[in-house]
Symmetry: D4
Subunit: 254 residues, 8 copies
């Protein structure tokens, strides 16, 4: 319960503006909402950190997506829906009458019009091959929607490791690194051996046969011989964005 | 190549102390070590960040472990070996003639005698049940060896969620959270819904049947409905420690 | 064997209308149908409990579904077919010339016109997210067809656990709880820690990557750290309805 | 928060025995325990329903098991630890100086000396083969510890289906059925086709090759063609006991 | 090598029509074809046993299927292609200008016009549910094409075991039993406990979730507690037909 | 129901020794045993076919195995227990005071002293490598116990296919072929392309890595490109013996 | 760093054309490109060996494929894109205005117009069945594009092993053998037992059920009892071509 | 058939020492051995290539291993048995009375005393970490037994990629590369991007959790983004040695 609210009730009781029963009821009413303290903290967190709820679009209808985005975008907070194919996105935009669709990232976006505290430092999104770009773009779309500075570093797969070496200074200039790779998923391991930054590895479903829809990359990243690599679900660009936001915000709060 | 070394060679050439061929050879010799620039940076990183190599003890003999620890501990840098069972640990300690064994964590330790810059803030290690403690202790042993401040928060499994609620303020006072859980592995998901911190989830092999040696917890953590949870390998307390170190150091470097 | 039929034969024997051999033959003839006692008991059970056969529509043609539903609906008993997509449902309704299609639940329904003993108490159907609704709706459609009282409790996923706390009294007012969740499937574990009711967990195929079409949720539910959670197949809303009916009927029979 | 406690504080405030700040602090102090309402309810539930915490012994030391059992057994409530092998059980009994070990069930038991409300009706535990007995015995030990009446029905595997037919009346006389089977796990499916009772299927790890430590039985039970079978983890006799207790208690509470 | 051909060469040598070198070469030339003895035996086997090659249609074009069937059907031997969807079957029939398509069985057929020795005894094809019929029909189409007598026994799933009991005499009148079932696949186990015949179990891909496209049924059949059940690949009606033909021919050859 | 018993009751009724109610009760009482008709048929089958129950020894104690074998061996019928390791076998033999242990086959045997109708024709047991011998020996021990003639054909793996060619006539002289192979399990496929006999393939757990305890061999055999191969569980020599017995008996019954 | 370039800089320094700082900078500038030495070597390798980059077409748009092929084909080097379906191939050809599509191989080709050193010896591509041809054709298209001589040897599956025997001399005349097979994938094992050549096994996704999209063939090949078989990913004709090129080039370089 | 033998028979026929029937029989007798032509070729191959049969020791008794090695070592050909643990190796050496045990490689060796044509060029065996050494040593032991020149290149894991760069010239000086790695198995991918040699990747079972006994490394290697990597079974050092021998011999035969 909010302590100001509590004191207000108590003062009214002391002042005779409320009777014991009334004060008890008022406290209880707040108490029946006592779980709301989390909600409220939760809401505070979102307004403070710039991380509103993101709509998971895959198993929702266009109507549901549009409706939820409208609610989220009250007061210009903006809204983002991920994993929306282009046909469904067309319907969503038609229903909402505004917004935009980022095709490669597969996200529908209603940009924020509220001002937001600018991000500090930058988050690097590193991509093994052009086939992995859609997942990287999902991460980037989410990060930019959330007000973060992003650096794109593409096509640095380990089959031609010199390409990676060329971008080492760039990698080292980022505060957090999101490393996106499919097939054997070796890139985060190699990067973690070269760069001293928090690394969030994102396996992608690029590949066939034993790639098993991204499981080869996932288990490769999780069993990496380089210490300190953390991993999110296959193709989960959004999750990596959210994790990097937690890290970067933690830096800034110090 | 080290620029001082290069200038020294060039000055000698300019001074006539070296001929072109000799200077070329000297630069080439260094150049044949040109990969050492990474090595060196790598060494710099370790001395800077307090993260020396950790010995993976599981598939090494006691002799190999003891030998590598001796090398790593030169100049009082200390050394740590993980995944060492008690029988092998006895032999390692006997060969080295010093050090200690943390049985629950299954690590052999030669404490650092060099001074180290103290850690800033604290890293929370949260543990669902007492059965998960060995993995948590591995993370804690590594973090303390690396000079970090650790908070232990144990026995807060989701089957009695009030226990978790009681420790929320403690969770929020940490800069990074390592969340260790076996069986269904739901704890990091619930924590991520309550606390706005970087969260590194560690699935453990506690359980039987469909727990599949920790895979149930692993896939549960990776498919978490709470955004921004990152995951390391099953029972990988060390990996979580290293990842949290990357994050905490990143905070401090700002 | 039906006891009336048996007595009739025996009376005829006693009356001399049948000889021993004829009577033995008559009893044996019924005996060759002695498996029918199960059938009959089975039929008795269905008329008693209000649980007629439900048509599994997925691998049947529209013609087969319509034909079986006509047979089941004799005497106004009603009929229900599950897992029917909208195209096939259109054909089924056209062939039958009556009935209705519940799109979200994916069931075709011919409502019962016979009177039925009303259900006692209510069965709660709890749903983690809007994406899990179709599975919940299948369970609800079956339960309502079977004459049960249902309480819908939606969107109480563990990522925002206060939402679940708010509905605790409602959960506790139900006699049986069906808990539907996809992704990491943590909801039944948390509910089982809070509420002292029979809990049937239904994993859904909502999710991607390591969710593996619902396997992550399934194994999470089966390896739950909360005791006494039982589980049905992925997306098996009907199975959960049937299991809750067995439980609720058992209560009422006491 | 307890309303009596709240009113007491408020009365003191109204009476001038407390100042606003003191009253606010007192309410907050209770509020910092506001999660205890669950704890308390939880404790109430356990004393009411006779379901104290059961110790999961597999990944605990003898010392830990003995210690927890001592705490649980305060006031003669009794205590039970499952999945304890005979060597560890010997140590546990030695440390505690009392209690008994049920070898086949692999449980350590300190019987309850408190009186307990007797169970109503009986719970049937049906076992496909003698190899499955240890899992059945774990369920039985837990149920008897919890004050339930149990019926043992053994060796009725489907390879000789007449054995099952012979016990049908016995099955029908139980309020809940726990059906334990390994290998192909067909028994619960056949039972569910014959008996109209809540059925909790327990797959066992009996078998080899494709039995995969009980996965064949598990997936067979989950994909059963008989409606309304619910399933617990492989070898999880305790879980089945707990689920049947939830059901039987629900019956009795009506 | 054909003995007539060998004798002819040797006679020519004896007669002086060939020299040693020429005869050696001639024998060697045949010898370079010596593998043809198998081919020939193979052809003999097919004409003898009525088991010509069957075309696997799934990964072939309509043109390929039609072409191979034309070759196989020389001299009125007939031809059969399995796993052909209706669109491709239409093209195949159009190209060939004759033949027929059995839609449920998914086979294209050019009936044999050659006379064939009639089959002895009958092969029972037992089917758990109507959803499993396509697989059963593939087996039946193959068996009838191969001149065997088939008995169809449908809809005898174990969820209503009396249906199976009713057909026991029919089952016992067959020489070999092909038992087709999806979901948990318990039917062959129950049949094997009741009937003393060779049993070939065919798991089908009917089901969802943990049925895993037929793997639940497959592993259930392979880990059957009833001895002597043999199993073929998921949905492999043809394979079961071929195996039953091997058995039935073996009977007849005695 | 036994017809003599039925006639006796009916005669008593006709004679006035029983009233209708009493006779009805008596018939019903027998009727509650009506499943015994199967039991009896079952027993008839075993005495007729020489296939007594075989004891699955793996998850039974020495006491249990010895006790069951004593019961089975009444009247000199003999008894066989499979999957018994040498330590447990020693105890079993000690308890029974008679019998023998076949170490490679891992079976305990009490030979039959009753006469038995001799087997007709022979069953070939073909073994890819010496490592697969234990599984082959289990099949052979069971077949010989059951009175069948067995031909052993060992070490004919496909890596040296000429070895297989050399034994083709021997293979063709058998009525049924059991083909035992580990690793890639290709042998049954090659045999089925060469020999026109019923083939029961037995995958073994010989191998490592991707052999996955016999799964590579199992799936290879099930997806064989040669038609008509049937398969039993990994290492299931007994199951193959039982299946071949069903086939060979079927031949002889004609 | 190129030694000529280095000497040139050093000479300028010696000659006074550069100061130490300028020379240091010039060397450093080259040094910042020092990774290019690999790039350069890499380019040398490709022009030397005739192995330009091949475009992985599956997860790229037609525009991306066409664009990359244009770049690769500068100076008539030719370009190849694999895993392109016919619809996308049509667009690629339309955008490029030249090139050809090999439908069975699913590759888009811009033939090389530069002269290339002819391949030495020939690479055999052996195919178990006609269903496996597309994978074999991908390998062949790549090999011919790369200037190698290829021998096609089709339809030699192990179910009729004489077909394989007939082509043994042809197999032995090749320098390297690519062996393509689906289903149980036994062909490479049998070939490796007969022929003394490097063997690259390619499992295909031909089959159903336990073939698991090629996993049965893959694990069969990897656990082959014939020594020295190496394996590539399922359906990876291109990978096999590249591996055989490495081997054949190695032969020629001697 | 041996041509000398054939000519001898034919000469006898021509000389009248044999009649046509006798000659036909003699040729047929040899013909029944006509598969021996492969055997002979096989033996020729072994004596020519220096690749005698290697004994797979894992599932053989010490007696079996010793016996087979004695046979193989006739005439000083030497013999090698792999996967022998130290206890069993002690017994093997004791039985044979000679030979040696290489503990790390886990092989028993009877060195060849026959002279052998020396190997040409060298085969590189590259090892990611010290934990992978036993597998590398198995490959090396086999290669040296087979007369090949081996280069050991150890501890060049990708987590510190500069270590790999340092040995590039050494890698390039080898004719074939065997690359041994556990955990995520990224090393062969990185090597293949840098070096233009045939590469045989060997995944090892080093690791835990998602490493799944080497499956993570295996699938990573098979789905490598670097073209032309071939793979053998997990821990299969021998298989890699045999494959490299096939390649190196192919080079030398040119």
């Amino acid at each position: 319960m909010n302590s100001d609210a509590l004191r207000a009730i108590l003062s009214k009781l002391q002042n005779g503006d409320l009777q014991v029963d009334q004060a008890a009821q008022a406290i209880t009413d707040q108490g029946s909402n006592s779980m709301d303290s989390w909600v409220r903290v939760d809401h505070d967190r979102e307004s403070r950190s710039g991380a509103p709820e993101i709509v998971y679009g895959e198993s929702k209808t266009a109507e549901q997506i549009a409706g939820i985005m409208e609610v989220l975008d009250k007061d210009g907070a903006g809204a983002l829906a991920t994993r929306v194919d282009s046909a469904k996105a067309g319907k969503v935009l038609e229903i909402m009458g505004c917004g935009q669709y980022l095709e490669q990232a597969r996200v529908v976006l209603r940009p924020r019009t509220q001002t937001r505290e600018p991000g500090i430092g930058s988050i690097g999104v590193i991509c093994a091959g052009t086939s992995d770009l859609p997942v990287a773009e999902e991460a980037i779309a989410a990060l930019e929607f959330l007000g973060q500075n992003v650096r794109r570093i593409a096509d640095v797969g380990v089959a031609g490791i010199h390409r990676l070496m060329d971008v080492l200074p760039e990698l080292r200039s980022c505060q957090v690194l999101i490393v996106v790779a499919g097939m054997e998923g070796a890139l985060p391991t190699v990067v973690a051996g070269l760069v001293d930054r928090p690394i969030i590895a994102v396996p992608t479903s690029v590949g066939y046969g034993v790639s098993m829809g991204g499981f080869a990359a996932l288990v490769g990243m999780l069993s990496s011989c380089a210490p300190g690599v953390t991993v999110v679900n296959i193709d989960n660009g959004l999750g990596a964005a959210m994790a990097s936001l937690r890290i970067n915000r933690s830096r800034n709060e110090r």
